[in-house]
């Protein structure tokens, strides 16, 4: 995953002995990073393929070797960003220790990343839904990918057998709605102040409000 975090460097141009796959992968990464950076700053509507080419330092022909159009590229960029966000959350959630504390730490890690990179938050949540139905479905699929992290909550849920099959999805949807509102309002930088609210929203459907409030108020580790 570290490879994904480091900015993609431009490879030396001209004749070199790098295998073609390496060149293609490097181009693709640069285009995707340029797309995230551009949409993160100017929005999807405000981003043109030309902006992406300029940021990525690739030719138009190269862009179209990788992607069929702007939306195709943006959706690939969104997928890649979500992969990276999932990896971050997964790392914390699968760790040892109290489950509710892990959920809180994972949410804290996520919003600290969003606060440090508000453009990523804008791409991941807001701009993807602004691209139309395909983007919205992508957003919904992305949210579903986070539900397994809350599954462990069933082991701690006293009323497990009575809870709806949609409980995990509702918990994730609740967290996503809060994140969406904050980011859409331009408050991504202050998301770390919301960790308590987010933790409560994630846990209350599974464990009830008292346990959720206790977890939300845990000291920041």
């Amino acid at each position: 995953m570290n490879q994904e975090e480091a900015p993609a460097e431009r490879l030396p141009s001209g004749r070199h002995r790098l295998p073609r796959e390496v060149v293609l992968e490097s181009q693709r990464r640069r285009i995707i990073e340029a797309m995230i950076a551009s949409v993160g700053t100017n929005g999807y509507e405000g981003t043109s393929v030309a902006d992406v080419l300029e940021r990525a330092g690739v030719s138009r022909a190269t862009f179209y070797e990788h992607f069929s159009d702007k939306l195709d590229c943006f959706l690939a960029a969104h997928d890649s960003l979500v992969d990276s966000l999932l990896a971050g959350v997964g790392q914390v959630c699968s760790g040892a220790g109290d489950w509710t504390a892990r959920v809180r730490s994972a949410l804290a890690g996520l919003v600290e990343r969003f606060a440090a990179h508000p453009g990523e938050a804008r791409v991941a949540l807001v701009e993807v839904t602004a691209t139309g139905p395909d983007g919205r479905r992508r957003y919904r699929t992305a949210l579903q990918r986070f539900t397994p992290f809350l599954e462990e909550g069933y082991d701690h849920a006293e009323l497990r057998r009575e809870l709806s099959a949609l409980t995990l999805r509702m918990a994730v949807g609740s967290v996503a709605s809060i994140l969406f509102e904050e980011v859409a309002a331009g408050r991504a930088e202050s998301l770390p102040d919301r960790v308590g609210e987010l933790t409560f929203a994630a846990l209350a459907p599974l464990l009830g409000p008292e346990a959720a409030a206790r977890a939300a108020e845990q000291d920041r580790a």
Partner: protein, 212 residues
């Protein structure tokens, strides 16, 4: 195009032929947004679908944003209409059972008018709070007017609203607006659990309202 409303009187706009240029424009805009997103809804595309002219569009609205706001306003009016029309038993007047009426009215309106609902819940509105969030907040406020207990923590109130919104957004994206009324128990559970706890939320969400 939909057929003419049949014999029985109906307040459901969906069953009526759009009676004015204004309504035709709003229906065209909502359907373009539902199919392609508001980005695709240029004035040109809207008037082409509505079978009207740009001149007519600008006689009714200053621009697309104003037309989108009109859709949200009318949707809100429809929800409040549905809410006042619902018969209520004595119990339903009291918080938290009063929330059932509001949430049921909302889900019914979403199911009856999925395209305007998508505008309200899925289109990011620039700057201001999204229309869907405001509408849910309003339903909670109206329902809680009869509450005797002190309001819960802000985190709980927000989780309740966000939970309701999350499920509605989820179903709208999946084009399952028509199944939302059947998810009333889930919606009530997620809305009530931060306030009253799991057992109470389960109990109150399973009780069937008398109004159906």
């Amino acid at each position: 195009m939909k057929g003419k409303a049949s014999g029985e009187p109906s307040s459901r706009r969906q069953n009526r032929e759009p009676s004015s240029q204004r309504e035709r424009i709003l229906e065209a805009l909502a359907s373009i947004c539902a199919e392609h997103g508001s980005g695709a809804a240029t004035i040109q595309a809207i008037v082409a679908r509505a079978g009207t002219s740009k001149r007519t569009f600008y006689r009714e609205f200053a621009g697309k944003e104003e037309a989108l706001e009109a859709i949200a306003d009318e949707f809100r009016d429809r929800v409040l209409e549905a809410l006042t029309e619902r018969p209520r038993s004595g119990e339903d007047r009291q918080w938290p059972d009063s929330l059932r009426l509001g949430v049921a009215a909302l889900l019914e309106t979403v199911a009856a008018e999925p395209e305007p609902a998508k505008v309200v819940f899925l289109e990011p509105s620039s700057g201001n709070r999204p229309a869907g969030e405001l509408l849910i907040a309003e339903i909670f406020e109206r329902s809680a007017e009869s509450a005797s207990e002190p309001p819960p923590s802000p985190a709980a109130a927000r989780a309740a609203r966000a939970g309701a919104q999350g499920l509605i957004v989820d179903q709208l994206i999946a084009d399952r607006a028509d199944t939302l009324p059947a998810l009333l128990p889930e919606l009530l559970y997620i809305s009530l659990v931060p306030y009253v706890g799991q057992r109470e939320a389960l109990r109150r969400s399973q009780v069937t309202g008398e109004s159906e």
